[in-house]
Symmetry: C2
Subunit: 208 residues, 2 copies
DNA sequence: AGACAACCTGAGTTCAATTCAGTTTGACTG
DNA sequence: CAGTCAAACTGAATTGAACTCAGGTTGTCT
């Protein structure tokens, strides 16, 4: 499990980078990126606003970093969950379940990722932002490929009817991530129930 | 007073409101809301930037108006498409098809709507923006209810297995609208093909 | 114990959005 | 076929949040 992945061994002992990321995830996740003042994040961490620029080139650079880390985590979890599955339907189920096996912090990260996905479309002016953006874009494609190739393997084995695996993969992925647009931990339906419903939906979509 | 206005009874004959909306949809839809300068929209229409404030209280007010109009259209299209359907499966298919029967301008509007959906979560400071936001939110709920009640009718008739209609509705809707995040008219796959694939997916999800 | 890199700060600067203080335009009236 | 007046517009000034600058402080390591 990559639980402490937000901490980087390359950082100095006094570094507040991790604290900034945690604070930013909380504020961006609850109020949204645009309506969160960058200085609020500084206040939350207990430093002046200009100190933020010691760690991130800009507010957008911080956001892109959060998005990249979350995409990396999603991909890692997918790979880990599907690694030792031989039956295509079980592999599919495991992949869906891995997408919903998340902490409250990770829910916020998914929400931030989904809400700001369109940021990845246009190039960034500054170098470090652009590096993060390109890395995030590649991870998006990697996650898409994760799903596509899972579907193609299942089709090749005859476990799933043959369809356009790419479009079907995007549809499945789209349905799964759309949950983070409306789900709140305080809601009436527990996440486990949503996860089960989506799992069954995906199986019917793909395997029938 | 009693004179009949052919274009729009609310607007004066010299009004550029419609032109501003068209220009804003094009710019927000192609480059994204954040990376589009409000003055670019003014340039496109051929007026000074300050003239925009004669029609919209702010850039966000314009965006919220675009989103509300698109939500209204989506709801209207759903109602129209499903009005005279008696068979639940046919009604379901008609609903999905209506979601993809869109012009290029409407594709941009859907893209804008999906990319900025989270703007509807937090209250706005100004009155006119807040009015648009609340109207848009209510339309979101109306569209969700459109799908939920279609599913519930089908379940009541025994055409669909009984499941949590609300969560299932959100999943279906989420899958459909997720297309606007990646679809581009210049892409390799035609929209008609995507529409057909999604239609079959929805039918398997709901009716099996 | 002192060098020095990491870390931090208050005082500016920037730039897009927005407000202000009026001026122009043209549809409608009389 | 003037005169009126609200709609439509403008250039200049203001705002505010993101960001830069020119240094100051702190903890770690040798």
């Amino acid at each position: 499990m990559a639980r402490v992945r937000i901490v980087d061994p390359e950082e100095g002992p006094r570094s507040k980078r991790a604290a900034i990321l945690v604070a930013a995830v909380e504020r961006f996740g609850e109020d949204g990126y645009e309506s969160t003042k960058w200085s609020e994040v500084a206040d939350r961490v207990g430093i002046g606003q200009t100190a933020l620029y010691h760690y991130f080139e800009s507010k957008a650079h911080c956001l892109l970093t959060i998005m990249r880390l979350e995409l990396q985590r999603s991909h890692d979890m997918f790979v880990e969950a599907t690694a030792d599955q031989s039956d295509p339907v079980e592999e599919l189920r495991a992949a869906v379940r891995s997408a919903f096996a998340v902490s409250e912090q990770e829910i916020r990260q998914m929400r931030i990722l989904q809400a700001n996905m369109s940021l990845l479309a246009n190039p960034r002016k500054s170098k470090r932002e652009e590096t993060e953006r390109v890395a995030a874009r590649q991870l998006v494609q990697m996650v898409e490929r994760d799903w596509t190739s899972l579907l193609m393997r299942g089709m090749a084995k005859g476990a799933f009817p043959v369809r356009d695996a790419h479009t079907l993969g995007l549809a499945v992925l789209g349905m799964i991530v759309s949950v983070w647009r409306w789900y709140r931990p305080t809601g009436a339906i527990p996440l486990s129930e949503i996860s089960e419903m989506i799992e069954e939906c995906v199986v019917r979509m793909v395997a029938e």
